[in-house]
């Protein structure tokens, strides 16, 4: 079946603008993760959804970042008043949690959205 998709592939915006990044997880996957990856670094955890609720948003850097998953499928990462330091690749991943819960399952990643804030 289809993998995780993310749109747009690339987004260029100006400092201070608002952006939305979309993630379509694999159908049936209940867990959804957002990560941010800066050049030369590993992915940095932002937020984790289990169904519609944010089970862990401790990785969000500040209150300019917000994410929703209203129907437990598609998720949108929203960044307000963008700053140049927000420039990075934003990765989304989904997984199907087993009975044990937690991260016993493989995460399937989308291709990412490359955000550039000028």
């Amino acid at each position: 079946g289809a993998g995780v998709s993310q749109t747009p592939s690339n987004k260029v915006t100006e400092k201070g603008k608002y952006v939305e990044l979309r993630c379509d997880p694999i159908s049936g996957h209940t867990a959804l993760y957002w990560y941010r990856q800066s050049l030369g670094q590993g992915p940095e955890f932002l937020i984790y959804f289990q169904g519609t609720g944010a089970a862990d948003d401790s990785g969000l850097p500040n209150d300019r970042f917000f994410a929703v998953r209203p129907e437990g499928s598609v998720s949108t990462l929203k960044i307000q008043r963008t700053e140049r330091g927000d420039s990075a690749v934003y990765l989304c991943a989904s997984s199907s949690l087993g009975l044990a819960g937690g991260s016993q399952e493989t995460q399937y990643f989308g291709p990412g959205t490359r955000l550039l804030v000028l």
């Binding site: 990785g59 819960g101 937690g102 991260s103 990643f109 291709p111």
Partner: protein
Amino acid sequence: SQQGEEDPQALSIQEGENATMNCSYKTSINNLQWYRQNSGRGLVHLILIRSNEREKHSGRLRVTLDTSKKSSSLLITASRAADTASYFCATPEGPRGGNQFYFGTGTSLTVIP
């Protein structure tokens, strides 16, 4: 914060040689996963090793886990040019072993044809 740290940061080998990269982590885990990333975009899951396992194989991949040393290694045998990529280890952290994933900084592998 980063939980896992890969070593070396960069590795360049000839096609056909074996590539070994290492990962160290800080806290107790119930599993460790290795991922591969091409061209700074989406990551692909390679292999998962659980805390009660010491070694696991998948094709040309061999992963070891030493929980006493909090370290893991990934061995790619008979490397190919197509193996050129960045490799990351990832460990879960959370009350049930995984609301978050921590990735290391990665090893950049170049396989020269």
